[in-house]
Amino acid sequence: MFRGTLTASQRRLAFGLVLPALFVILFINIYPLFQSFILSLQEYNAKFPAQRHYVWFGNYLKLFRDPEYLAALRTTFFFTFVSVALELFLGLGAALIMNRPFFGRGLVRAAVLIPWAIPTVISARMWEWMYNDQFGVINDILMHLHLIPEPIPWLGRPGVALWAIIIADVWKTMPFMALLLLAGLQVIPEELYEAAVIDGAGTFKRFWYVTLPLLRPAILVSLIFRTIDAFRVFDVVFVLTGGASGTKTLVVLNREVFFSFLNYGYGSAISVTIFAFIFLISLAYIKGFGRKWRLIE
């Protein structure tokens, strides 16, 4: 609105309205981001503040020879890929179920919101208790089903622990995916399905040729949000294993470097790479699919 009638006073109003929010974002987000980059160029350990000096890209060169960093990088990519893939698969299933008219659908939608409503730290502690090696209900259920012969220390065994974390994370975040996809399903016009039925398409063909292509925008939006979220995972790992048993992701490692080793310079270099990876992931999604789905406007 106000098109063509843009007067100086209206422009002043716009700036006045935007300024407070912009001020907060600039000072609390952008400026610290810039500081992080500056810190990443320094040798700066808070235990020995007197020895602080510039090493330029020395921290970054060290990163790519640091086995712990490389392991965290691998763990993070594995976690991100597997949990987002599982979420997409299960979330799509849940969305398709909730999109069908049936008695009690409102109740199901409410139940699906439960995991979303629980704070991540709290849901992680619920899972920690269920995974407990001595008294945990998961061992109990699986032993009743004769799937495992004896209790398994889910969170203490390398290789198993990461999967246990992935399952807890998928449980927590699948509803978000399902609700976004459900919203996407609901805007698909019914006539398209009717036309497909007249053309003799079965259930699978209707899904493959009508639902999936039209759902693509919703799938991509939820993928981008969830991929970025999964890449910066912290809470669930911190609570379930603290990074032990081969589950140390980048953010968990990063926090350890900051607050256990007080190595602000090297830690900031890790932070900057996390930022760069997330930037690249978003860029890849937007470049790859941006024209097909319009996120802005």
Partner: protein
């Protein structure tokens, strides 16, 4: 023939409930059930193997000692203050910015939209140390404002995004009529548009409140003791000297979760609308 068809249809419906609906609901709600179950058991029953699926006798002592031994009320109060102030401030700032983005044309508008979108995605760990040093310099570590100020900046993009899409849904003829009647643009916004955008404010407020209530990374590192520790930090660090008191921990979990789940169920529609705002426009 017709009867066979009807039976097949009934069987299919039964199969849909048994193999799709029931597992979905069961998986989503089981951890909460298990937490409630554990919270109502005595310590001796909690460490039974195999675990009991119902408490043998309902036992409320865990709920009492969460407050008497752990002073959990302090953590609840901290979280309520931090999340409440964050929500009020983020809404106040967010509404103004969103109105300008939705209704006014000004240079740099697109750039600002992109900036806000990017701010909602960047990893917060990458400003953890600069903000930590900033708060230490201000002597704001272990204070409410030391958490509230970062939280406002984290929730602004979400609030702005949701409010912008709500403002867009309100016909602009309403304000144009007010302008013709001699109102200033600011009056048109406050008197005409804001009342209509109230549902959007509730949605944005709920999502911001929940996000601030749940935040962990900053709360963990910016607070040192129970005078400011929020609920997630208290729950994550919940322990006695050498063992985790599972009964009390699960009682604390239920105390936090049940009101939150009720809140979400009451505002289900609003929350879903907010989560999907701007995400699926087709």
């Amino acid at each position: 023939m017709r009867r066979g068809f009807r039976i097949r249809k009934a069987l299919r419906r039964l199969g849909f409930y048994l193999f799709a609906v029931v597992p979905l609901v069961a998986v989503c709600s089981f951890p909460l059930y298990w937490s409630i179950n554990t919270s109502l058991k005595t310590h001796n029953e909690i460490i039974l193997w195999p675990p009991t699926w119902f408490p043998r006798k309902i036992y409320f002592e865990n709920y009492i000692s969460v407050f008497s031994a752990h002073h959990f009320e302090r953590n609840l109060l901290n979280s309520a203050i931090v999340a409440g102030v964050t929500t009020a401030a983020a809404l106040a700032l967010g509404v103004l910015c969103a109105y300008a983005l939705a209704r006014l044309r000004f240079p740099g508008r697109m750039a600002l939209m992109v900036l806000i979108l990017m701010m909602s995605m960047f990893p917060r760990i990458s400003i953890l140390i600069p903000l930590f040093l900033m708060m230490r310099g201000l002597h704001w570590l272990n204070t409410y404002q030391g958490l509230i100020v970062p939280y406002i900046s984290f929730s602004l993009p979400l609030a702005i995004w949701i409010m912008t899409s709500f403002f867009r849904g309100i016909p602009s003829e309403l304000e144009e009529a007010a302008l013709v009647d001699g109102a200033t643009p600011l009056q048109a916004m406050v008197r005409v548009v804001l009342p209509l955008a109230a549902p959007g404010l509730v949605t944005a407020g709920l999502l911001v409140f929940i996000a601030a209530w749940n935040e962990f990374l900053f709360a963990l590192n910016f607070t040192f003791d129970d005078t400011t520790r929020t609920v997630p930090v208290a729950i994550a660090l919940f322990s006695r000297q050498f063992e985790i008191p599972w009964g009390e921990l699960n009682a604390a979990t239920v105390i936090v979760t049940v009101p939150l789940v009720l809140l979400v169920l009451i505002f289900q529609r609003r929350i879903i609308a907010g989560l999907t705002a701007g995400a699926v426009k087709g």
